[in-house]
């Protein structure tokens, strides 16, 4: 059958006059009449592609594994880094379409027109049959009378520096109409975006930028210049090296680059494709062993350095010895590193501003603690054995793309990449303990026979979290898949086990299923905006024994009960209690939602700009010494009927776990949240914080704070060593019940900023209120009930030590307040 279709394609190709081949257009080009695009077309900076009125551009679709870094998509694309001028007219429109006669399910679609840092003016044109008719990524587009129809996506505008003016145009009959990602700008006039199958308009939410490291070289004078030559024996480079050609290292030769060396490559572009050709070609051994204080820099020698000024560090056929690239910074290259049949370790290095950070095949590669950022493509590999650990792949157009690897990828961060964070096809992969956040798509696993995806945090990806396609023997477990723009997981033609995950708060569906054979069990699936599971296929789905929180499953399961022809999702029996979910990630950014039963085994830090939402009814259990550090925001949203619990994993020991620490955090709150067996339930510094209806019992300390403002109301502090401790605190403590503690309230210093009023403060063992030795200020504690005791007996202040401040208690309430909210 395949042969027949391919034959049909070939016949079709033969019958159409060839107008354009696959190429980088190195000079201004005009298309007219019929144009067949067989492979990718790239219009580089400085070049103009003009399409004349009446032209029909047919693109032969392909979903390949092409390796050239200058291209963006896996499909056949027309990429504009220079200018595109499409001069359609009312009576002679221009049409861009998929080459006819090809069935879409066989070869998929063509990529579309990608305006990548370029500009485009398109008039009176139709674009159809593409994955995305128009993608504008860091570029500008003016579209007048343009129809984007019957594509998967109509228009995608990516990045704050992208702008589109859409005039008198139509975006319809696509699966998705308009996507605005990472702050792309659109102005539209008399344009229609409607009638798209799945969604007309979508705006993705980006995550705060992660810190990015880089190395800064020392100023040095060029000590040696190399041109086209071969290095024999052992060569040592140090100081500042200028390469003005292709330096080759034949087999048996060694190049040793000393810490602190700067290697610069001048630009030589003989074919005028915009990409430099100077570089290193190593068949011997390369040892580039920098250190953190004396890194090695590889970069352009041009005054205005730009991406692709030089070629690459090529290591070819060097697998008898391990090559080392450590503490290096590689920038401005076409491919920063390029290995074939090589054995290489790359550690602690920075790869930035390259078309592609690293590319390799048939190699044994260890990559650890590197950062790939601001490349068009971070890393691409095939047919290799790869250990990929503790790397950061951030802010690239495409993150990591691995094809047919024996891959172990763990503890990496794939963040804010414009397309995929991590894409894995075929091969054997263990993908564990990674963060995948803020990409357009977090993780794609396709055509794989064995894959484990475990303990990954796949969240806040703008469109989708985890996509599984045509894969078998999948084990998806222990992952938190949440806050993704549309679908948490999307599954097509796959089989496996999806178990023990937390799938929450995704923009539309927790799990979207086209076709799946396997089980979905013992997951916590909750708070997804549209459906917990949305079925689009006719097969039944086994989704028994999951916890759904308080979901209305009749509404939140979309299956044959909602649309004729769909299969049935079998979700009964469901678990009445949440499954324990271990939080496996020590540092979090972006938005995080906790629900069900969370186990915290170590300190978890929520960085500045992040937000932790804890849903009603959640239980958080801490291992010994574990705790939370909040530098962003926490919203602990317990309710009277559904309280939140923060407690010890086991035992009943004061101080078993550490604390919920808020350090210069954003405005946060805890409502109806209970703390027990902590060192301190809450420890807050310089944070605006509200505590309402909470219980602090059996901790070493209930709550301590510095500065504020802090508002503590309606809460219970009981059976702690210290109920509340304030150090230079500012805020209001009222209508609380503070009893049976060793010390009820301890104000260490500068207590004048507090109003401690309308509380029941009684039956505390040593003092109900004690001022610290350094507190010289008067403290307002009027209108409290002290359990009928003489306040002077239960308060330690100036009456006891003359040099400390005085507590103002009058008037004292005669009886217990019964207005405590609990």
């Amino acid at each position: 059958m395949k042969v027949d279709r391919l034959a049909a394609i070939l016949m079709f190709v033969l019958l159409i006059p060839a107008g354009a081949g696959a190429e980088v257009l190195t000079s201004d080009t005009v298309w007219s009449n019929e144009v067949l695009v067989k492979e990718d077309i790239l219009v580089p900076a400085g070049v103009i592609l003009t399409v004349m009125p009446g032209t029909v551009v047919r693109v032969l679709p392909a979903d390949s594994t092409k390796t050239d870094p200058e291209y963006v998509s896996h499909r056949t694309e027309i990429t504009i880094r220079g200018s595109l001028n499409v001069q359609g007219q009312k009576d002679a429109p221009v049409i861009f379409t998929m080459a006819g006669g090809v069935q879409q399910e066989l070869l998929d679609s063509w990529a579309g027109i990608i305006i990548d840092s370029g500009t485009a003016d398109i008039a009176w044109s139709t674009i159809t049959g593409a994955e995305t008719a128009l993608t504008v990524s860091h570029g500008k587009l003016t579209a007048e009378k343009v129809s984007l129809v019957e594509n998967r996506y109509g228009l995608i505008i990516q990045g704050e520096d992208s702008s589109v003016s859409l005039n008198r145009s139509i975006v319809e009959k696509n699966d998705y109409g308009l996507f605005l990602l990472n702050g792309g700008h659109l102005t539209r006039k008399d344009s229609t975006i409607s009638g798209n199958g799945k969604k007309d308009e979508f705006s993705g939410k980006s995550v705060p930028s992660l810190p990015i490291r880089s190395y800064s070289p020392e100023d040095k004078v060029t000590s040696r210049v190399y041109r086209d030559e071969a290095l024999l024996g052992v060569t040592v480079w140090k100081g500042r090296i200028l390469v003005e050609g292709l330096v080759r290292l034949p087999p048996e030769a060694q190049l040793l680059i000393m810490p602190g060396t700067v290697v610069e490559f001048s630009k030589k572009d003989t074919n005028n494709d915009g990409i430099g050709e100077n570089g290193l070609m190593i068949q011997g051994r390369l040892i580039a062993k920098g250190t953190s204080s004396a890194p090695i820099i590889f970069r352009s020698a041009e005054q205005n350095r730009s991406m692709g000024d030089w070629d690459s560090i090529n290591i070819l056929g060097s697998d008898q010895l391990q090559n080392l690239i450590e503490f290096c910074q590689i920038e401005d290259a076409y491919r920063g590193m390029h290995f074939h049949f090589a054995n290489v370790a790359v550690t602690n290095s920075v790869l930035r501003n390259n078309y592609r950070g690293a590319q390799f095949q048939e190699s044994l590669v260890i990559m650890g603690r590197n950062i790939f950022y601001n490349n068009k493509s971070g890393v691409q590999a095939r047919d290799s054995e790869v250990v990929f650990e503790h790397n950061e792949i951030i802010n690239n157009q495409n993150g990591a793309n691995f094809f047919r690897l024996d891959l172990k990828a763990h503890h990496n961060v794939f963040a804010s990449n414009e397309h995929d964070g991590l894409r894995v096809r075929e091969g054997v992969a263990r993908i564990e303990d990674n963060l995948m956040i803020g990409n357009r798509f977090g993780l794609l696993v396709a055509d794989a026979n064995y894959t484990e995806v475990q303990r990954n945090f796949i969240a806040s990806n703008q469109e989708g979290g985890l996509a599984l396609r045509n894969s078998d023997h999948l084990r998806i477990s222990g992952n938190a898949i949440q806050n993704n723009g549309i679908n948490g997981i999307i599954i097509r033609e796959s089989r496996g086990i999806i178990s023990g995950n937390s799938i929450a708060a995704n923009g539309e569906r927790g799990i979207a299923i086209v076709s799946y054979s396997g089980s979905i069990t013992q997951n916590n699936i909750f708070a997804n905006s549209l459906y917990g599971i949305g079925l689009e296929g006719s097969s039944d789905i086994d989704a028994r024994d999951n916890w759904w929180d308080d979901s209305d499953l009749v509404r939140e399961i979309y299956d044959g009960d909602d649309e004729a022809g769909l299969g049935t999702v079998h979700y009964l029996e469901q678990s009445a209690v949440p499954f324990s979910f271990t939080w496996a990630w020590p540092q979090m950014s972006g938005d995080v939602v906790w629900g069900g039963n969370i186990a915290v085994t170590e300190k978890v830090t929520f960085v500045q700009g992040s937000k932790l939402e804890v849903r009603p009814g959640t239980t958080v259990r801490f291992d010994q010494g574990a705790g939370l550090e909040i530098l962003g925001v926490i919203e602990s949203k317990g309710t009277k009927e559904s309280r939140i619990t923060y407690t010890a994993e086991e035992g009943g020991e004061l101080g078993y776990w550490d604390e919920v620490s808020l350090q210069q955090a954003g405005e946060s709150f805890f409502t109806y949240s209970d703390f027990s067996y902590a060192t301190w339930g809450i420890h807050s510094h310089f944070t605006p914080l509200r505590i309402t209806g909470c219980r602090f019992m059996d901790n070493y300390g209930g709550m301590r704070f510095r500065s504020g403002p802090v508002e503590i109301t309606g809460s219970v502090f009981k059976q702690n060593e210290i109920g509340i401790r304030s150090f230079r605190g500012v805020g209001r403590i009222d209508r609380n019940d503070i009893s049976e503690n060793e010390i009820g309230v301890f104000i260490r210093e500068k207590g004048a900023g507090l109003a401690l009023q309308y509380n029941n403060i009684y039956a505390n063992e040593r003092y109900s209120l004690r001022l610290g030795d350094f507190n010289r200020q008067e403290v307002n504690a009027r209108h409290n009930w002290w359990g009928g005791d003489d306040p002077a007996v239960v308060i330690f202040d100036q009456e006891d030590e003359s040099y400390i401040g005085k507590v103002q208690v009058d008037p004292v309430l005669p009886g217990r307040l019964d207005t405590i909210v609990q």
Binding site: L256, T347, G368, H473, I497, S517, S519
Partner: protein, 251 residues
């Protein structure tokens, strides 16, 4: 088809169809729509062995057979469970099929594989003709075994791993291991590892043989270092711990 997975099975004695049989089959396929009533064709037989990664027979495995390339669903036919000799056999109506072999640790026949269960990988396409016995062997692997099977490591190299430590026994970060055929070397030893992590862990890739090993903090190592651990390595070896800078100065 994935070539790597193709390597997991072996067609041992595929019976060649005679030309006349092919013509007959073509005739039957072309004109079967005009036949007055379906005629049950004589079944064919598929048999063979299910083997593990070291090519030992696997007991209690099954071969699942599908009538389309969509093999991520319940099978259309399932063989008997293999016995001690790993043999399986199943009768099939003549036609085109796809097959995989599965071994489930916990028994059972349906549903996705559990942890540690084994599978033969990509489905194998085959044709069964009436009355013909066809033989195919399968190799079943779990994830770890599949990973090992697919390693691209240069077969000539072995992997030596361990920790670089200070003399106190604490792990040495930002150190590296070295190996050389002789006690002394020139600018660099023949083999050198990446910088160690905070746990002091290193990996050296060496051709099998006898080497002198050492470890250093500074790079490049000082002139005159003498590597003092002499050891033969013939296969991947772990826990070869090295003491950093424990070297003798040249007299």
């Amino acid at each position: 088809m994935n070539e790597e997975y193709c390597a997991h099975f072996y067609v041992k004695s595929a019976v060649r169809l005679q030309r006349i049989t092919i013509l007959l089959l073509v005739f039957v396929v072309l004109f079967s729509g005009n036949l007055p009533a379906p005629v049950a064709a004589e079944p064919g037989v598929l048999g063979g062995r299910v083997l593990d990664i070291v090519e030992e027979p696997v007991q209690s495995a099954e071969v699942y057979i599908f009538d389309s390339l969509d093999v991520k669903r319940p099978a259309d036919f399932i063989s008997n469970r293999t016995g001690e000799n790993g043999q399986y056999q199943v009768q099939l109506p003549p036609g085109n099929y796809w097959a995989v072999a599965v071994f489930r640790q916990g028994g059972g026949r349906f549903g996705p594989l559990a942890y540690g269960d084994k599978h033969s990988g990509e489905a194998v396409a085959f044709e069964v003709a009436a009355g013909v016995k066809r033989s195919m062997d399968f190799m079943v692997l779990n994830l770890r075994e599949a990973a090992r099977k697919h390693q691209k490591k240069n077969a000539d190299l072995i992997r030596v791993t361990g920790k670089v430590k200070h003399e106190s026994g604490s792990p040495a970060a930002m150190a590296y291991a070295m190996a050389h055929k002789l006690e002394q070397f020139g600018v660099l030893p023949d083999y050198i590892s990446a910088w160690t992590d905070t746990q002091g862990e290193y990996t050296l890739y060496l051709p099998p043989g006898r080497y002198y090993l050492g470890a250093s903090l500074g790079f490049p190592p000082k002139n005159g270092y003498i590597l003092n651990l002499n050891q033969q390595f013939i296969e991947d070896t772990d826990k070869v711990d090295l003491i950093v800078d424990k070297v003798k100065e040249v007299q």
